[in-house]
Symmetry: C2
Subunit: 257 residues, 2 copies
Amino acid sequence: MSLSVSLTAIPGIPDIRDGDDLAAIIGDRLDAADLGLRHGDILCVAQKVFSKAEGCIIPLDSVTPSDEALRYAEELNKDARKVEVVLRESTRVVRSFRRPDQNEGTMICEHRLGFISANAAVDESNFGEESAVMVLPPDPDASCDALRAALHARFGAEIGVVMTDTFGRPWRLGQVNVAIGLSKVPATIREQGNTDAWGRPLQVTEPALADEIAAASGLVVRKDGKTPAVLLRGLDWTPAESRGADILRKKQEDMFR
Amino acid sequence: MSLSVSLTAIPGIPDIRDGDDLAAIIGDRLDAADLGLRHGDILCVAQKVFSKAEGCIIPLDSVTPSDEALRYAEELNKDARKVEVVLRESTRVVRSFRRPDQNEGTMICEHRLGFISANAAVDESNFGEESAVMVLPPDPDASCDALRAALHARFGAEIGVVMTDTFGRPWRLGQVNVAIGLSKVPATIREQGNTDAWGRPLQVTEPALADEIAAASGLVVRKDGKTPAVLLRGLDWTPAESRGADILRKKQEDMFR
């Protein structure tokens, strides 16, 4: 039972560039802030940081839109080249719409990695290039594994890593961070079969631990603040071999596809 | 900019009963744990605690199911009296289903308070009575206001209060805590018009602060642990007159009703 945890934005992380050694940069900032890494720490790192380090930036000049992209672009008042990138990142467009108050419409897509989000998580802001878009890393779990292994080698601590992205939700306004890649952090905790504090069997309860962690990291990260990495310390958790896709409902269990 | 926040489960909160003075109980536990309350603290308290203190428990013996309840009960293999309570708490059933692996089906409802959740947040577990169900407090914002005012009177600190409940989500497995009642805590933070760290205007970004706080509280609350109240300390935030309903998308903005 965790009684107290802390979330700390790791200070001083510079703008990341293609080819940067994330583990070295984050490790140096952890040392500089006298935080280090301890057994059981969990690092939450924004997708943008991984995408920049892995060069997942697509110049729009290099993109030729398909007929399908041209159709969506006209319907939604979007740049057809951006739509083309969204379609390439997606296995399916779940819904598309443009409300009267929207300049550009929205495409709700099933991403190649399985999750459903707006515009297939293709990002146009916050990476300093006007005529390019950013896509997710090819394998977020592998990116998390590599960061975890390198930091383990440096600090000797058994830690977990969560890659976060910022998603909107049906029914509820605003965005929260969710987990899209995991290393060692359990996607969910199965509490079925436990009893509650009054001895009665719990109904199906499966806290989405990785998403709780991702959402919590949002409390100390603000987009305009260059604080893309957060250290969660003090959580009582058991490492698992979860992958980001473990957080996704199977199609047949999901009534909202 | 918050660089570090802490989340602490307030220890020793007893089982709450109808008529209990929540502010006195929580205040005593805060003092006993040498936590107290400071300016800017936010208390996250589980819905169950408020519902118990406010007597929101309905003995099933007192419920006569309607024809509609009987129909759902048969289709979903549910107790018709429980279904009746769900229907009374709801303005609309959005979807109902029973998957082959489910003993009892699920009703996704629009609650009278406006949010969409499973079984209209009617709870059968974790309150120690076999033949009764628990419903949400009549006015969660008012419940939060009353708790905040009483704790302000005792500690003199300007604080915020969030009432949390545990919801499933479309597309993603497991549950996270969300905010269903607010006192002084902003529902969301509007970042439109800001620029990102590289000077480019941010696209529409509106972090759902109250839901981030609620989700974070789940990290130190476990259902079987009797830790229904969490103290968030260190967050940099500005009080607002938000209400729980401010977190809900308007119908015309929501493509998933």
